[in-house]
Symmetry: C2
């Protein structure tokens, strides 16, 4: 090893030692163990995918998972096909309507959203469900198909160890206030803008 390489290796080691000290101190400070509410919002892609990734991780730890999809896409979704393979571990519900701009019928949308919310509320009251994914709930809140007060109350009353993941753009402030972790996903660039077609098996 040349002197330059040795000096670089030494600088790297010192920088990483400082980083490790910071990381370890953060871990030592974080001592509270309880279920968390994670919200993913913003206009970028990846919000629902991150929710389904958390479902996969939870299943890897032997958790029971409940999923309610509040907005059904216009074509069959791969995540539904995949997670329905595990009926003993995943309770999977899809609100039985298309996007609200497909139905164009507010009353019908409200009835469908309310029925989906009743299923979600049941999961949030069930201590046997370790993780609940409420996919695209934020859209139903944005259109006021479901009241945010009911959601906040159900989150507050849930079993203390239960984790909840809520996705969708335009998360209301009242939900952000009670969440533990909130990520905003922003578009930097988007294949769709370049004329690339939505294709099965990939979220553009």
């Amino acid at each position: 090893m040349s002197n330059d390489d040795a000096a670089q290796a030494q600088r790297h080691r010192e920088r990483m030692q400082r980083k490790k000290a910071l990381v370890d101190a953060g871990i030592a400070r974080a001592t509270i163990e309880r279920g968390v509410v994670v919200v993913t919002t913003g206009n970028g892609k990846g919000k629902s995918s991150s929710g389904f990734g958390m479902v996969a991780r939870a299943l890897g730890h032997g958790f029971n998972v409940g999923v309610v999809q509040f907005i059904k896409g216009s074509f069959a979704t791969g995540e539904e096909a995949f997670f329905r393979r595990f009926p003993d571990e995943v309770s999977y519900h899809v609100m039985g309507e298309g996007f609200t701009w497909e139905t164009q019928d507010r009353e019908r949308d409200i009835r469908a959203a309310s029925a989906a919310w009743d299923i979600a509320a049941g999961m949030l009251a069930d201590a046997d469900v370790d993780l609940v994914l409420l996919d695209e709930l934020n859209i139903a809140l944005k259109y006021q198909y479901i009241g945010v007060d009911a959601v906040v109350a159900a989150l507050a009353a849930r079993p203390p160890q239960q984790h909840v993941v809520i996705t969708g753009r335009a998360a209301p402030q009242a939900l952000i206030d009670v969440a533990d972790t909130v990520t905003e996903m922003n578009v930097v660039k988007h294949a769709y803008q370049a004329g690339i077609k939505a294709q099965k098996g990939i979220e553009l």
Copy 2:
């Protein structure tokens, strides 16, 4: 239905009709079908989870998937345990080292990253792999354990229908330039900052 309700329903219908026209026009314009490169970056949580959610979706469509995790977490990951259940559909590789601030040895990190990259490059050259997830590759690029030029060249030469998802904070500009979809995930709030401990089964 009162006159007010009827008027609201009518306004909703008109707004949704305009939205549907916009959505449909966008779909009509998007006609290119080919594999895409998706990059998730930023400091927020959900980058890796969104990659693993895309793996789940791809499996729902019967895809063959390759996964290389470039940075192994300090404790066993649920996603690895879960996706290793499907050895016929998922080829899963984990770079056999801890975080770089755990090893504090740049030469060792470079050797481990190069070995992981060789496996990734093999997947990117294999037309039987429909989707490749290169989890935390951006970190290995940031520390210059792997050269971005080699990654850009492998992406350009890959089979045309193959999708690739690359995650990790600090994605280099050269990678963003060649990607089709890029999402930046930003922290709004984080449970860890509030003293909540990392727990199995959930990405805080």
